[in-house]
Structures are given as structure tokens and as C-alpha cells.
């Protein structure tokens, strides 16, 4: 007993003295910035830098409480249902759209910037991304009527990272032409060798383009229309594709795909360009050759952006955080760290990311950086190279050629069809019930019942038998 009391007192003492606790209780809320971001989605050394930078700018202390999620919906649930008071979060575009519709967002507050003479870098975001944001589907009965010109989505959301969905594949086992098309999913050669990202929206939005490619090419319909039209037929079409692909699929990965690929346990991984870029570098180190390709039928060009939920307690710091991340050098560092491509479209980024020896073939990234050419001077050698956004020596995984962008779609919020999608997804994913199993269950149940019945009947028969004998005895 004494021991236990001792323990508890120690425990409580510790509790009241933990840095964690002091964070929680001692510090007032407006010196805390609660950042909620995807896992592995930030150069963590930036956190301290932001804290010092914020001090410089505003003269106020702030402590960043950084936590991560790996499922959009999970994060949204916590905010919408759990009312968690995150100050700044980084959801995907369709969630941003939903949060807008449901009035879960508040404007990014840039008013202080001028006062603290802090440059506003929010404009560094590539215009093409801003446009994509603005495209988010209008809907009249929403709290936020997005057609209302006075409302710019970019007031509520600032892009962070972007990417495409495609195939990451191991060149030792897979020929490039084998993965030109999404139909690679059906190739028996890859039995149990394909991992698919456990993200039904992305998978849907790319595979629907495979399902409808004839109509799309013949111009009967548009990619974006099909992608955002979650009719039962469309969902069914995608489901059929996946069912057909089932034997090849070895698993549905939340995050472990890259790991399995670098370990050579899988040959193909339907995943995001960012993961791909990261995995390619990782694999190179252990001498495993991976490549990334966007199949011809089309892809989805996705964005994650920073937003400030209405339950946020420290809007000011949140706004500064977003602004901070929009600096070109910060963007580059994040790209190097995470492998994803920042939406910052400044010449500095273009210059920083292009490299002739690493990427001899060029990509047309003018859609992203605008149509610009400028000389770049190498510090050591001092010789000048011309950088041309139309023919830039960039990593095609990160900055796909314009044609890829032309056949890409923007994902829209599909909350109303959420359940239908989930159902389709689990049809494909989790339906392992087969006849073998069913018969087995039936047999077991039957056996159990038999035993029970047998037991009961035996008792009953015995009882009756005894009754009879009792009678006999009485009669004797």
C-alpha cells in the first residue's frame, strides 16, 4: 500500500512537472501554435526557425506543438466532431473544399504583416495552383458561395505541396512499356506484386479515366466531369477494374508502400509522386532501381494546402506560419526533405530545383513557373547557364511535363457519395469471404449444434427411460 501511494505521488509529481504538462497548463494558449500536418511532410528543423523568426517579426514568443495524421478524414473528424483546437492544418484539396462548404475555415489574417513589416510571400504560390483552388466546385446552398467573386478560396487556403498519382515500379522486374497504362493492374505477370495506395479518391479519380477513356478521347465527356460525377455506374466501373486487378494486388498501403518497394518485396506501387520521389532516392542507396511513371489515360493533380479551422485559438501565429512556409528557400528545403513538390513557383525555386547533370532530358514546366528564361550563375565555376521554364532540367517525377498536367484532373469534395465510395472500396479491399470459409463456418456451427442437441436429447431420453423404470418399480 505504502509503495503504491508512493508511486502515485511520484507519478502525480512527475505529471505536474513534465515539459509536456507545463506546455499544456503553464503556457497561455496564444503562445502556442498547434500545427497538424501529414506525417513526414515538413523539414522539422524549420519549426525552431519559425519560432525564432516569429519572435523577430512580432516580438512574441510562440511554441509550436507539431502533430501528424495520415488520413484526411481522420483529421477532419477530430476537428469537426472532436473540436480539436488546431491552429493550422494541412488537408488535401477536396477536404479544404468540404471545410469551406461546412464553414469550418476562417480567413488567413494578413493584416498584421504590414504592421510588423513582414513581407507577404503568399503570392509566391504558382498562379496555376491558385486557379485550381479557385476552381473548387461552387454550390449555391453552401454557406460559402464560391461563385461569389468577393470570395477567393486563396483567402482561406494557401497551397503547400502538390503532386500526381502514378506507378512507382522496379525496373529490374518491370519494363517501362508494361506500365504505360493503368491496365498494368490486370497483368498476371505482377501477381501479388502490386501495392495500391489506400486512398480511394485518388484511385477512383485515375481509374475512372481508364474506364471512360474512349468517351474522353472522343470528347463526349471531360475528365473533370467524370472525376467529380460519382454516379453508381462510374463507381461500379472502377470497382470492376479493381476486382479484375485483385489477384495482382498484394496489399493496400497507408504508408508502408515505399518501404516494401525499396525492400524489393513489391514490384509496382500505385502511389503519389512525392512518395515515389522519396522512394527512388532511398532505393538508390540500397542499389534498387525504381522509376515513376504517369500512365497515359490520365492522373489526378492533387494539392495539399494550409488552412485555419474556426476552432483555432491562435490565428495570428497560424497566418505567420503559412506565410513563413511560402518563402522560396523554405519551400526548397521542404522539397529536399519530403520529396514532394512545393507549390511555390518562384524563379528561385526553378533555379534551385533544376540541374543539368541530374536530369539531362527536359520538361516543359511553364505552366508552373510561367514562361520565363533567365541566366543562372554557378558560384564555384562562375559559368552561366540559361534556365528556361519551357525546357527545364527538372525531376520529371516532381515537375511533370505539361502534357501530364493536361491529362490531369482536380479532385472535388464527394462527401455526399462518401458512403457509396467507402462501400465500393471495402468491396474491393476487404471482401475475403469465399465458399471455403462459408462452408467451414457452416460445418462448425452444425457440429456445435449437433453436440448440443445430442447432449439434450440424451438427457431427455435418459430422463424418459428413468420415468418408465420408476413406473415399473412402482408397479412391482
Amino acid at each position: 500500500m505504502k509503495k503504491i501511494l508512493l508511486f502515485s505521488t511520484i507519478a502525480l509529481f512527475v505529471l505536474s512537472n513534465t515539459p509536456l504538462a507545463t506546455k499544456t497548463y503553464a503556457q497561455s494558449r496564444d503562445h502556442i501554435l498547434k500545427v497538424y500536418n501529414w506525417a513526414d511532410y515538413l523539414d522539422l528543423s524549420l519549426i525552431d526557425e519559425f519560432e525564432t523568426w516569429y519572435k523577430e517579426q512580432t516580438g512574441e514568443d510562440v511554441k509550436v506543438r507539431y502533430s501528424t495524421f495520415d488520413i484526411n478524414e481522420n483529421m477532419l473528424t477530430q476537428i469537426e466532431v472532436g473540436h480539436e483546437d488546431y491552429d493550422v492544418v494541412c488537408p488535401s484539396e477536396y477536404i479544404i473544399e468540404r471545410m469551406l462548404k461546412r464553414g469550418l475555415l476562417q480567413k488567413i489574417d494578413t493584416t498584421d504583416f504590414a504592421r510588423t513589416h513582414t513581407p507577404n510571400w503568399l503570392g509566391n504560390v504558382a498562379p496555376f495552383v491558385a486557379d485550381k483552388f479557385q476552381q473548387m466546385a461552387p454550390n449555391d446552398d453552401d454557406k460559402f458561395n464560391l461563385e461569389n467573386p468577393s470570395l477567393r478560396v486563396s483567402d482561406y487556403a494557401v497551397g503547400y505541396m502538390s503532386g500526381t498519382t502514378g506507378f512507382l515500379y522496379n525496373t529490374d522486374f518491370v519494363e517501362p512499356e508494361e506500365v504505360e497504362s493503368w491496365t498494368a493492374l490486370w497483368n498476371e505477370k505482377f501477381q501479388q506484386k502490386i501495392y495500391v495506395k489506400d486512398a480511394f479518391r485518388d484511385v477512383y479519380s485515375v481509374l475512372i479515366q481508364l474506364a471512360r477513356q474512349d468517351d474522353i478521347l472522343s470528347g463526349k465527356t471531360t475528365r473533370d466531369h467524370e472525376a467529380s460525377n460519382l454516379s453508381d455506374e462510374n463507381i461500379q466501373a472502377v470497382e470492376d477494374i479493381l476486382i479484375k486487378a485483385r489477384p495482382q494486388i498484394a496489399g493496400w498501403e497507408a504508408d508502408f508502400g515505399k518501404e516494401r518497394m525499396t525492400q524489393g518485396k513489391a514490384w509496382i506501387n500505385l502511389t503519389w509522386s512525392g512518395d515515389a520521389a522519396w522512394a527512388i532516392d532511398e532505393a538508390a542507396e540500397v542499389g534498387c532501381n525504381l522509376e515513376y511513371v504517369v500512365p497515359k489515360e490520365g492522373t489526378n493533380c492533387w494539392f495539399d494546402g494550409w488552412v485555419i479551422p474556426i476552432y483555432a485559438k491562435n490565428v495570428k501565429a497560424a497566418s505567420y506560419w503559412i506565410n513563413f512556409l511560402c518563402q522560396s528557400d523554405v519551400a526548397i528545403r521542404n522539397m529536399d526533405e519530403t520529396g514532394y513538390v512545393s507549390v511555390i513557383g518562384t524563379p528561385e525555386v526553378l533555379e534551385g530545383m533544376s540541374s543539368e547533370e541530374d536530369y539531362e532530358d527536359t520538361v516543359d514546366a511553364s505552366y508552373f513557373f510561367g514562361d520565363i528564361t533567365f541566366p543562372s550563375v554557378d558560384e564555384e565555376t562562375g559559368d552561366t547557364t540559361w534556365i528556361d521554364s519551357k525546357a527545364a532540367h527538372l525531376n520529371h517525377v516532381l515537375y511533370p511535363n505539361i502534357d501530364v498536367i493536361e491529362r490531369s484532373i482536380l479532385m472535388h469534395d464527394t462527401a455526399d457519395r462518401n458512403e457509396a465510395m467507402l462501400e465500393m472500396w471495402s468491396h474491393v479491399k476487404g471482401n475475403n469471404l469465399n465458399w471455403k470459409m462459408l462452408t467451414f463456418i457452416l460445418i462448425v456451427v452444425a457440429l456445435i449444434l449437433l453436440v448440443l442437441i445430442d447432449k439434450k436429447t440424451r438427457q431427455w431420453r435418459k430422463r424418459r427411460h428413468r420415468q418408465a423404470l420408476k413406473l415399473k418399480r412402482k408397479n412391482l
Binding site: R463, H465, R466, L469, R473
Partner: protein, 459 residues
């Protein structure tokens, strides 16, 4: 007697447990067919082990067990035509009363009707019909007891073994069960071997009583023999109340104890042979007038025992005699007492002194009773095996085992009228007897010390 009359013959059975502890020491026993035999003795005397050997749960270390002439020593229990009633019944909790009783018969593949007939009759014998459907856990101790008996007798065993079956029942119930068991034995006509530590139980039920102590049989006989002619002080003391006194056999038909001569019916001892005299309290006749009677004394206590009074009488020369009489003599009254010659039970003493095996260590020490004792100077060479004689009253018992030269445990205490006669088991297994006036308890651990001058070495 013709061997075929014996159903169970236990021949020179010795049981030694792994620890080397001897629980049965060369026990031999013949049990007649149809007898009601009781194994009687204090706890730890080995009676239960003997029963388990007969049942087959335990294998004897030496000797063998015969069942109607056939050697069954190695036969597993389930092949022996004997059944046991266990101390705590051991009824199967997953079966109801009926199935518990039918268990054995089912195994013998007896027909349903036959089973039912026999089960019901067995239940009727123990008065448990009507309970057949009951769950055994829902029964009282007595009822469980009856079911256990029914379960055993239903198989018509040649021998029924009962391992203290009544010990768990309260007194009233026990007495009833005793009568019923006796009745059952008569009706069934099979051999009962009954283990108990309760002498009344033994006396009231058995044809033959086997008194056991210290893993050997002390006496075998009918209850009356055992009671009236106890073979030794232990039996006399263990069975019923008794006054046990040291005495000397003057000559045939004359015994001397309490420094007085008494006429008796015993003869054949050599003159002045030391003996123990046993007088049952109810055999002492009391006289109002101290002059009549063979000796006198003052009543020190008088307790009413229902039918009779139990009194303690102090004789002038310091003996305390236990007396039972139908008339009360209040404490303080002077009385005279006499005992009829035929009621004087004379039994020869095993010995007058302790004769102990010892080994010479050096000129002034011998090793005995598991320790080295100092002796008077002697000339025997080292290592010679000798007998050492120590008088009963020359052994000192000490509270703390550590204080004594040797250690021992008190096994048996006899009150010899004016002193206690104590049996001590020493750490090395040897026994010594001690006369003392100190009061000890059974199982006390004590220290033993003997003065050097009291150790007489004899060859």
C-alpha cells in the same frame, strides 16, 4: 486357519517415501472374508497408507498384497475388485447422483435396466433414492457421504475400503452413519476395511480392530480383547480410559503396585518381573468407609458424565487414580477403593530402562540418538558398537531442542498415576522412553540431555 478364509493378506509390507520416511514398517495382516476390520490409530500412524496400498493407489516398497490368495501387489487399481469410499467423498461434480453411482457399472458395460436396478437399490440402501436427479454439489455432507458409499457398493466389490468416511460429519450424524454402515455390512456380507482415528467408532463397529502406531501394528483383536486385554500401555491408553501403573509381579496371582500387594489372575512371570498394571476406571469399586477397600484416598474432583460420575482420587502416597462410579463422592471425601482380581490387567514391561545402540567416539564420548553424548571414562576402542543403558528417569527433556545434546519429538504420553511415561522419537529415528513429572504435549520438539554418570555402557 485355512488360507482360503482370508480375502486380503498383507505380507511384510514396508512403505518408504522418497524422503526415506518410513510410513509402514514390515506390516503383516490377514483379513477374513466378510469381516468388518478397522484400522485404528493416531494420525500419521500409516493406516491410510496401508489402505491405499490395498486399494492400489500406492505401491509398497517391500512385501506383497494378496487378494483371496492371488498376488495383486502390482495390479492397477481399476483391475482390483475393491472399491473405496474417499475421505472427502470425491464425487464427480459433472455428473448427477444417479450417474455418479452408475459410473462403475457403465464402465462394465452392464445393461441399462440392470444398471438402473442396481443403482436404485444401492441408493435405497443408503436412503438416497428420490435424490437420483440431484446435482451432487447441491447435497449436504451427509448426503454426499451416502452417495459415495452407494457408488462404491453398487459395483459389488469383494472388499469395501472406507478412508475415514465419517470424519467430516458432525457428531450426531456420525453416530447414525456408524449404525447404518454396520447394518449395511451385515446386509451386503462383503468385507469392510475401515480407517479411523476415533476409538469409539472402532469399538462400536468392528469385528476386528487393528491398532496401529508409529507405522507398526500394535495389536489385532476383537473390540473386547483390545479393550480388556490391551497388549501394551499404548493400546490401553489409546482405547478407552485407563489407569496405568508400574508394578512388580511378586509371584503367580500376586501383583504389587502402589507399594501394595493385590491378588490377580495372571501367572507365569518370573518373580519380581516388572510389569504395567492397567485398571479401567469403571472397574475401581469405591467404599464410603475408607477402612473397607484395598487402599484409600481423597477425592479431588468429581464430574457428572451423564450416566456415571468421573472422579480423581489422590492416594496418600501420591498416586492419582481415575474412577468411574454411579454414586457421587464430592471432592474432599476420604474413600476406600478396591479392584477385583480379574479386573487387574497385567502386561509385561518391554524394558526397565532404555537400551540404546551407540558407537564409541573416544574415551569419554559415545555417538547415539543422532548426537555425541559425554560418558564416564571408559576403555573401549574407538568405533566399537555398544549397547548403552539409560534409566527412564535419568533422561532430561528440555523445552528448546537446541539446549539438548540430541533432538527429539514427543510421540506418546502415558500417565502412570504418579508420573508421565513419555515416548520420544529422536532425530535419528531411534526411540527412548522417559519418566518425568513435567507436562509435555504430543509432537512437542524437545532437547534431550543425559548426565554422563547416567550412561551405562553394557556389552
Amino acid at each position: 486357519m485355512d488360507k482360503s478364509d482370508y480375502i486380503i493378506q498383507v505380507e511384510h509390507v514396508t512403505k518408504r517415501f522418497d524422503g526415506g520416511k518410513v510410513v509402514l514398517n514390515d506390516v503383516s495382516l490377514n483379513i477374513k472374508r466378510g469381516e468388518f476390520v478397522t484400522l485404528l490409530g493416531p494420525s500419521g500412524c500409516g493406516k491410510t497408507t496401508l489402505l491405499r496400498i490395498i486399494a492400489g493407489f500406492t505401491q509398497p516398497t517391500e512385501g506383497k498384497v494378496l487378494l483371496s490368495g492371488k498376488d495383486i501387489t502390482t495390479l492397477p487399481p481399476y483391475q482390483r475388485p475393491v472399491n473405496t469410499v474417499f475421505q472427502r467423498y470425491a464425487l464427480f461434480p459433472h455428473l448427477n447422483v444417479y450417474d455418479n453411482v452408475a459410473f462403475g457399472l457403465k464402465l462394465q458395460k452392464v445393461s441399462e435396466d440392470e444398471i438402473d436396478k442396481r443403482v436404485m437399490s444401492a441408493l435405497r440402501i443408503v436412503g438416497m433414492n428420490e435424490y437420483e436427479e440431484r446435482n451432487v454439489n447441491a447435497l449436504s455432507g451427509g448426503q454426499q457421504q451416502r452417495v459415495a458409499i452407494a457408488r462404491a457398493i453398487v459395483n459389488r466389490p469383494q472388499v469395501l475400503l472406507l478412508d475415514e468416511p465419517l470424519s467430516a460429519l458432525d457428531h450426531k450424524l456420525r453416530v447414525d452413519m456408524q449404525l447404518e454402515l454396520k447394518q449395511m455390512h451385515r446386509d451386503l456380507g462383503i468385507t469392510f476395511i475401515f480407517v479411523t482415528h476415533d476409538q469409539e467408532e472402532a469399538l462400536s463397529m468392528s469385528d476386528t480392530i487393528v491398532v496401529m502406531n508409529d507405522s507398526v501394528i500394535q495389536q489385532i483383536g476383537t473390540p473386547t480383547d483390545i479393550y480388556n486385554e490391551p497388549a501394551n500401555p499404548f493400546v490401553a491408553d489409546f482405547i478407552g480410559e485407563s489407569n496405568i501403573l508400574n508394578g512388580i509381579m511378586k509371584r503367580d496371582f500376586v501383583v504389587n503396585f502402589m507399594d501394595k500387594d493385590f491378588p490377580c489372575v495372571d501367572k507365569g512371570f518370573e518373580a519380581d518381573a516388572p510389569i504395567d498394571v492397567v485398571i479401567r476406571p469403571e472397574d475401581v469399586v469405591m467404599h464410603k468407609d475408607p477402612k473397607d477397600g484395598q487402599w484409600t484416598g481423597r477425592v479431588t474432583s468429581c464430574i457428572f458424565k451423564g450416566i456415571h460420575y468421573e472422579m480423581l482420587v489422590q492416594t496418600p502416597d501420591g498416586y492419582e487414580i481415575q474412577v468411574q462410579d454411579y454414586t457421587a463422592y464430592p471432592a474432599g471425601t476420604e474413600v476406600g477403593m478396591s479392584v477385583a482380581p480379574e479386573n487387574l490387567h497385567v502386561m509385561p514391561c518391554q524394558s526397565l530402562y532404555n537400551a540404546i545402540d551407540a558407537t564409541v567416539i573416544d574415551a569419554t564420548h559415545v555417538f547415539m540418538l543422532g548426537a555425541a553424548f559425554e560418558t564416564k571414562l571408559h576403555t573401549l576402542p574407538k568405533g566399537t558398537h555398544v549397547k548403552v543403558a539409560v534409566d527412564f528417569d535419568k533422561v532430561d527433556l528440555l523445552d528448546d531442542p537446541a539446549d539438548g545434546t540430541a533432538e527429539g519429538q514427543i510421540r506418546n504420553i502415558l500417565y502412570k498415576g504418579n508420573h508421565y511415561f513419555i515416548d520420544v522419537k529422536c532425530s535419528n529415528g531411534a526411540n527412548i522412553q522417559v519418566d518425568t513429572n513435567d507436562v509435555w504435549e504430543d509432537w512437542d520438539m524437545i532437547g534431550i540431555s543425559i548426565k554422563p554418570e547416567d550412561i551405562r555402557i553394557i556389552n
